[in-house]
Point group: C2
Chain length 173, copies 2
């Protein structure tokens, strides 16, 4: 259901195609959601079938037609329903932690390589956060409450990532 809800939110803000949604995931929503194009196209089609979206085909010269999706009234209601009820706890799955439980069998160089690679990924994530912040929330003073809300999510993302990075430093000894 969560993917559906995320699509409802992004399309409610502005109608668009599967491709558009993918671009938004990469731009301002990189710390919120990611999905492959196949998943999007399939889900959008299903949601249309379920009456949550309408689809308007816009023909284009020399490119595939754009299929612009837009919320229906049922879509808006589904979104409100989803917002109204609290999310289920997310399942715990930390494959990295599992490796720590196999410490004896985990060769020292592999351990270092693992943590180094992770560290790099996290640093890159920090840069993504910085880019999003610069692009969308450059002036926190002037934000309306509705704009400040998504900005909070960025701050948490940053802090969690920092916590990870500090921990890696420590574990590296």
């Amino acid at each position: 259901m969560s993917l559906r809800a995320v699509l409802l939110i992004t399309l409610q803000r502005e109608p668009g195609t599967g491709y558009d949604v993918l671009q938004r995931f990469k731009a301002g929503l990189a710390h919120v959601w990611q999905a492959s194009h196949q998943q999007l196209y399939r889900e959008l089609d299903r949601m249309r079938g379920d009456g949550l979206l309408t689809c308007e085909t816009v023909p284009q010269a020399e490119r595939p037609d754009r299929k612009v999706y837009r919320l229906t009234e049922a879509g808006r209601q589904a979104l409100d329903g989803w917002l109204a009820e609290p999310l289920a706890a997310s399942p715990v799955r930390q494959p990295l932690f599992a490796k720590f439980f196999a410490w004896e069998r985990w060769p020292e160089p592999a351990r270092r390589a693992e943590l180094a690679a992770l560290s790099e990924q996290l640093e890159q994530r920090m840069q993504t956060y910085a880019a999003i912040e610069a692009e969308w929330f450059s002036d926190p003073e002037t934000l309306t409450p509705a704009q400040r809300a998504p900005w909070h999510t960025l701050r948490l993302g940053r802090r969690l990532t920092e916590t990870w990075l500090e921990w890696i430093e420590e574990v590296m000894e």
Copy 2:
């Protein structure tokens, strides 16, 4: 693959049944992995089919037979292979963050309820951590390196949860 790897690790430490593994997930591995019994039974049977595990059926009086799984040489190699290569980055999926992007449509009472419920879940997780620590890592001084490794994972779990809790406090204003 990760579930397989987690099973290889837990069964390598000590052979056991699907039921046993489930208990271990609940006891010392609650912050590492969780899975339903259906998933475990299915996966264990597949791993046996793939030659990673052997299965010894231990008949019991007045209870279903125990199926005790044990790593084969191929299983040990599969585990070593998994340990050797760095994990892929985990996909970003934060349905809570998505809700923040629909701030205008998200009623105030629902927002409070959501954060309160999450806060409670996190507090409960902190208690789980404390219980695991008391049970398995009560005396950090005497830990061998191999025992200290999994202890580190607990510390990170605790710190990440604390970061979440602090953030919720702040967002609540």
